[in-house]
């Protein structure tokens, strides 16, 4: 089992989610993070002066998938999240040591 952590642009999130749903991966957790990367940020204005803001809102999608589906899911996310301009984000993958579904008490691969 693998956990996929994708950091993407907020405005791409809907599209990614729909694509994952179409693939059959409904389970995920989403949170708002602020990202700081190669992209040197946008500039904002405060009290009449411009500032460079180098930390921008991103959406973090976390989903756990069976090992075999990992590649497919990553590919989908990368495809849908890409705009080709700086700030598109990253996808990281981690090994999951164990997993439980709370409602049923099931463990391991049965949670899917």
């Amino acid at each position: 089992m693998k956990k996929i952590e994708a950091i993407v642009r907020p405005e791409r999130f809907e599209i990614i989610k729909d694509a994952l749903s179409d693939l059959g991966y409904d389970g995920m957790s989403v949170s708002e993070v602020k990202g700081h990367g190669n992209y040197k940020g946008v500039s904002e204005v405060w009290r009449g002066k411009r500032y460079r803001v180098d930390i921008l809102p991103k959406i973090k999608i976390e989903l756990v998938v069976p090992d075999k589906d990992c590649e497919k899911v990553i590919q989908t996310i990368v495809d849908e999240a890409k705009t080709g301009t700086v700030g598109d984000g990253r996808v990281f993958v981690f090994d999951v040591a164990d997993a439980h579904r709370i409602r049923t008490g099931e463990k391991g691969d049965k949670i899917f």
Binding site: P10, E11, E14, K34, V42, S43, E44, V45, W46, K49, R50, Y51, R52, V53, D54, I55
Partner: protein
């Protein structure tokens, strides 16, 4: 800094400064003392004087509450997404400031030239257009005329705020600003002149001629018509309609703001409608105020109950629009009807609102984020008509259907048609020209990431515990 300022101005805007300075000079030069700018001759310690000074207090204080209604309009931004709220609020802010200044420069003169107010006649004008009182110079520098200006200027600011609700979340600021110059000098003042400036609509030969006590037609129907055209030309927000044409879900970010704004508007509306007597000695003001309150409350309860029947939830946001719908509907007729009729007008205002929302959103597929078209447009028209139906003949000789009199309804109907044709037609022209020249809609990227941070340089809200880190950009 001063040098910097100078440079900027010199570089690209030296012309505007020159023009402005020339204005100042010509202002000074043209100022005349022909009228009564201090009120010394207008006031005297006699009955007319005391009555006059009472009217001043009354009109000024109610006028202030009208300005205050802009706070209510701004609060309605709670119905929009958090990322676009500053954009909407700026639209309202511009209506309150720039709109009023344009109205000062020219709109007021076109609207009220030739009008008589509290016994003072204001310069030239015919039944189609006025032409007196530009910039309150010359003989318009008179306490009564200036008071009329103040009251009418704050009323005029509403037009911009009504439109803002329909074009929200996707309109270019530049196009919005430019449209003001046309709206505040032509579309609004001329129609206003025809009714409030006692022009041709006011003097129609059916019934007593068109009546519109506090602006269902002049303000709301006109504003709502322009708003509709604007929303139509802009097209719907991204995500508003799915591919199959069913409406999508774009919820607002703060429903509480909507409630606050609505009750706040209700307060101002009482002042607005009652103050529209423009004379403290007209005691009908109490009936006007009560009718306004009753119709608004009835509209709110109607829509709340309907939403509960239809969805199972007490949709308080829609109920707020129902409140506003009732208030718009009664604005024209508040002085001419009895309280029981206000109940009916408010109830029907709620019905008109939900029907219009359904029609505009589902059938016409026009995206109106705040419901401005249904609240102000549809109910503005219904408000105009309601006089022709419910006026009971007690006030101003206006008698509607319930007294067995159809003429008034005909007049009111003509006013409706004229409002739609005039504001709709000129609105189309205006937005069309803007669209093919500078463009009226922001880019897809701006719309997706939010108008606030792109056009105004900052999001509205920052609740983070730790501020992000920054470095100032080299200028």
């Amino acid at each position: 800094m001063v040098g910097y300022l100078y440079n900027i101005l010199k570089r690209k805007h030296i012309l505007s400064v020159v023009i402005f300075v020339m204005f100042l000079i010509c202002f000074g030069a043209k100022t005349s003392w022909a009228s009564d700018p201090t009120g010394e001759h207008t006031f005297a310690l006699d009955f007319r004087g005391v009555d006059m000074s009472e009217s001043f207090s009354w009109v000024l204080l109610t006028g202030f509450t009208i300005l205050f209604m802009q706070v209510g309009f701004i609060f309605l931004g709670g119905f929009l997404q958090a990322k676009n709220v500053l954009s909407y609020m700026t639209h309202c802010f511009l209506a309150t400031t720039l709109g009023a200044l344009i109205y000062l420069a020219a709109g007021f003169a076109f609207m009220f030239g030739g009008f008589e107010f509290l016994g003072r006649h204001l310069g030239g004008g015919n039944s189609f257009i006025g032409w007196s009182g530009f910039l309150l110079l010359g003989e318009a520098y008179d306490v009564r005329t200036v008071m009329l200006f103040l009251f009418q200027a704050v009323v005029a600011t509403f037009i911009g705020s009504i439109i803002a609700g329909a074009v929200a979340e996707r309109m270019k600021l530049s196009a919005y600003v430019i449209s003001f110059f046309f709206i505040y000098t032509v579309i609004y003042p001329l129609y206003g002149h025809w009714i409030w400036g006692e022009g041709w609509l006011f003097n129609l030969p059916f019934g007593v001629g068109v009546r519109d006590f506090a602006g269902s037609g002049v303000v709301h129907a006109i504003g709502g018509s322009i708003a509709f055209v604007g929303a139509y030309f802009l097209g719907p927000r991204i995500g508003k309609y799915k591919e199959d044409g069913t409406p999508g879900f774009i919820p607002g970010h703060n429903v509480g703001y909507m409630i606050l704004g609505t009750v706040l508007l209700a307060f101002g509306w009482l002042g607005y409608d009652a103050g529209s007597t423009l004379a403290a000695g007209d005691l009908r003001a109490s009936v006007v105020a009560a009718n306004t309150f009753i119709a608004g409350a009835m509209g709110a309860v109607t829509v709340l109950y309907y939403s509960y029947l239809k969805t199972g939830a007490a949709d308080i946001g829609e109920a707020c629009n129902g409140f506003l719908a009732g208030l718009v509907a009664i604005s024209a007729s508040c002085a001419y009807v009895a309280p029981w009729a206000a109940v009916s007008i408010g109830f029907l205002g709620g019905v008109v609102y939900v029907t219009s929302v359904w029609f505009v959103e589902r059938k016409l597929k026009v995206d109106d984020p705040l419901g401005a078209v249904s609240v102000h447009g549809a109910n503005g028209l219904w408000g105009l008509l309601s006089i022709g139906v419910f006026a009971d003949g007690t006030y101003g000789g206006v008698s509607g259907l319930i007294t067995g009199n159809g003429g008034q309804l005909l007049s009111q109907f003509i006013a409706c048609i004229t409002a739609i044709a005039w504001a709709g037609g000129l609105g189309c022209l205006m937005y069309f020209v803007l669209k093919i020249t500078i463009g009226i809609r922001v880019s897809r990227r701006v719309e997706l990431t939010g108008l606030d941070v792109n056009l105004h340089g900052t999001p509205c809200y920052r609740f983070e515990a730790a501020g992000p880190a920054f470095g100032p950009e080299p200028e």
